[in-house]
């Protein structure tokens, strides 16, 4: 029984694309698949290799490099958010709040206390996690939709709080600027040379990818599948929704706070503007376009949106109008996003051309949805 809950589990990649928490759970006897090449690991490795080699091709195009760094920052946040939205089923709307708190923590530490900015990365991550858990403590006891309300209220209240918080050094409405950049040995990072920033961002982005991947393909991920398939059965196995939710919220806050800390030193400025509606809707559309519950789709969404947004710069006021409409259209017509489309194309191709051995097919033959819970229940009974 305990093997089922702790082993490396998900039949990742073989989803019927109905939303993240609906993946079929592992059957006893399946090989461990956490490190197998599939959609998740394949896209991750592809993304990493392309990003690692891209500077060679770009030469000294600082502008494109800057866009890529920004994409990686938001890509990491998008992945962290998707852990909650797509996998844990927690409608958290306060993700950017964790981001801002990470950014403020790191910036305030280096500017007001004179602490080396490198410590800020850790401090921002930890503060992000603490705030996330503190927000989770009351809200996760409530029904799903209440969480959305409460976290939205948190997000909306944070900007006024940071503005009135001048006394503790938040810098009021104008925020903190300039924020000291990182330095190694005698070398100081600067805006003129993007390469060091780029690889630092890539490292942090990789951390988000790996942590996200192992969170999904581990006890966490399995717990949420179990809770989704049969809550009472999962609870009888000792899974507490409250505890796993709290843990994953903390983890998501950790990654988001870390990215926030990096963002503060990269852009050299933090202000309540980061909590603006514009940033929020950008993040929503990144996750939505990439595919909610379709790891690592949201990160890909981030790259697309940052570049499209830059391309649409001349449209100025119309840009957000377009993005708002786009959110509505995606929800109505393609709620699975790009990764969902990729999945369904792949499934269709497989169904047509590939004869799959019994029990390893794209879908339809493995236990799925509530049935998986029943199958598991039967296994354990016998």
């Amino acid at each position: 029984m305990s093997d089922q809950m702790t082993g490396p589990d998900l039949r990742t990649g073989e989803t019927s694309s109905k939303g993240g928490a609906r993946r079929p759970a592992q059957l006893p006897g399946d090989r461990p698949k956490a490190l197998r090449l599939n959609r998740q690991t394949g896209t991750m490795i592809g993304l990493f290799v392309v990003l690692a080699l891209l500077p060679l091709a770009l030469g000294d195009s600082n502008y494109t490099m800057r866009l890529l760094v920004i994409s990686m920052i938001w890509g990491g946040v998008a992945i962290a958010w998707d852990l909650l939205l797509g996998y844990a089923g927690i409608f958290n709307l306060g993700q950017i709040g964790f981001f801002a708190i990470g950014a403020y923590t790191s910036a305030m530490m280096s500017e007001n206390l004179g602490i080396n900015p490198w410590w800020g990365l850790a401090a921002g991550a930890v503060t992000g996690a603490i705030v996330a858990v503190l927000l989770g403590l009351p809200s996760l006891r409530l029904a799903g939709i209440y969480i959305a309300l409460l976290t939205l209220a948190f997000y909306e209240v944070l900007a006024p709080l940071l503005t009135v918080g001048q006394a503790i050094g938040t810098g009021g409405k104008r925020g903190i600027s300039p924020v000291t950049p990182y330095s190694i040995g005698g070398y100081e990072f600067s805006g003129g040379q993007q390469i060091p920033w780029y690889y630092l961002a890539l490292g942090l982005f990789l951390v988000c990818l790996i942590v996200g991947y192992f969170a999904i393909n581990s006890r966490f991920g399995t717990s949420f599948i179990a809770l989704h398939d049969s809550e009472s059965f999962a609870q009888s196995l000792g899974i507490s929704r409250y505890k796993v939710s709290l843990l994953i919220v903390g983890l998501s806050g950790l990654l988001t706070g870390m990215m926030g800390a990096f963002y503060a030193h990269y852009t050299g400025v933090v202000s309540p503007r980061v909590l603006g509606l514009e940033v929020f809707i950008y993040l929503v559309i990144m996750v939505l376009l990439g595919g909610i519950g379709k790891f690592p789709g949201p990160a890909i969404g981030a790259f697309i949106i940052i570049f499209v947004s830059d391309w649409l710069r001349s449209f100025d006021r119309w840009r957000l109008l377009i993005f708002g409409a786009l959110v509505v259209i995606i929800v109505m017509l393609a709620p699975q996003g790009i990764m969902g489309a990729v999945d369904s194309v792949r499934d269709a191709v497989r169904r047509r051309f590939v004869q799959t051995p019994l029990g390893d097919g794209p879908d339809g033959d493995g236990p799925e949805g509530p049935a998986a819970g029943e199958a598991q229940a039967k296994e354990t009974e016998s």
Binding site: K18, G19, L85, F91, P138, R141, L142, A143, G144, I145, Y146, A148, L149, L150, L152, A153, F154, E156, V157, P160, L161, T163, V164, L277, I281, V284, I285, L288, R317, W318, L320, L321, F323, G324, A325, L326, V327, V328, V331, M332, P335
Partner: protein, 292 residues
């Protein structure tokens, strides 16, 4: 002391307007299970429509504003329900889809305002000038007018819910959608009407509060969050809870604004909300939020 009582009266009046806004929000959830995140944008649209009619283009009499704007808001709400919400109803993740769709709609509507009217703040003049002195207290006519309008709308709503056939079907659907359907209540029509009424109430709130606050294209978000906090504090779907929470928070707003400045209002609201939720996780009169 006298100043304090005048502040209380202001708070009470703001409270009743907030009640209109929040009750529309909670109605929409209680009957149609829709959490409408574009509610703030509807608020903005109500205010801007009023501005167009009373100040910008037509310059009609102020009282006509209500007669013109409210039906437009109602029809707009019905249209949004039919085009946006209804197709999502048979999705397994209805809640989540609606959340995202209405968020997108909100951004779209807000930026439409921005594109049409520009980013500069607009303001509606007060309905009535001057003030009245009763028993030593000075109250502006504007406040009296606001109070009366809001009260009329609130009473009309209560009567509508209690006495008319449509109102009764709305309550029936809120209690048990399946049962309501069995006895022949057209569910989707009730959902659409509810959404329309909700939008209309939001618009009424927008018109009433616009003279007090400046109007900006993104100003509606504050009111969405205010409606959210009131509704959570009162208990989602509970009309009585919404009423008490509106007055509590309206008066709190007036006192905090008087003593510390308007910037502190939202932090204080959030603290009160947190305190209420710690004691009563489902809000003052809530039942829906409770798990299990």
């Amino acid at each position: 002391m006298r100043e304090f009582i005048e502040v209380l009266i202001t708070g009470f009046t703001i409270g009743i307007v907030y009640y209109l806004v929040a009750v529309g929000f909670t109605l929409c959830y209680g009957v149609g299970r829709v959490l409408n995140y574009s509610y703030g944008s509807f608020f903005t649209w109500g205010a801007y429509l009023a501005w167009v009619i009373a100040v910008g283009y037509a310059q009609l009499n102020y009282f006509l504003v209500f007669i013109v704007v409210l039906p437009i808001m109602f029809l707009f709400g019905v249209a949004v329900d039919q085009v946006l919400i209804r197709p999502l109803r048979n999705r397994p993740e209805f809640d989540f889809s609606v959340l995202l769709a209405t968020l997108g709609l909100a951004v779209f509507l807000d930026n439409l305002v921005l594109v049409i009217f520009g980013p500069r703040t607009k303001s509606l003049p007060a309905f009535l000038e001057g003030s009245i002195t009763v028993g030593g207290f000075t109250i502006s006519w504007q406040l009296v007018a606001m109070f009366i309008f809001a009260l009329v709308v609130a009473v009309a709503l209560a009567l509508f819910m209690a006495k008319t056939r449509t109102g009764m079907s709305m309550r029936a659907v809120a209690q048990d959608p399946m049962g309501a359907r069995i006895v022949g209540i057209p569910l989707y029509r009730v959902f659409a009407i509810t959404f329309g009424i909700s939008t209309m109430l939001c618009g009424a709130g927008g018109i009433l509060l616009a003279p007090r606050f400046f109007m900006t294209p993104l100003g509606g978000w504050t009111f969405l969050v205010k409606a959210l906090i009131i509704v959570i504090a009162g208990g989602l779907g509970s009309l009585r809870g919404t009423l008490y929470a509106s007055f509590l928070l309206g008066i709190l707003e007036a006192i905090v604004g008087w003593q510390l400045g308007l910037l502190w209002v939202m932090p204080f609201w959030f603290i009160v909300l947190f305190a209420i939720l710690l004691v009563r996780p489902a809000g003052l009169f809530g039942a829906i939020g409770r798990k299990g």
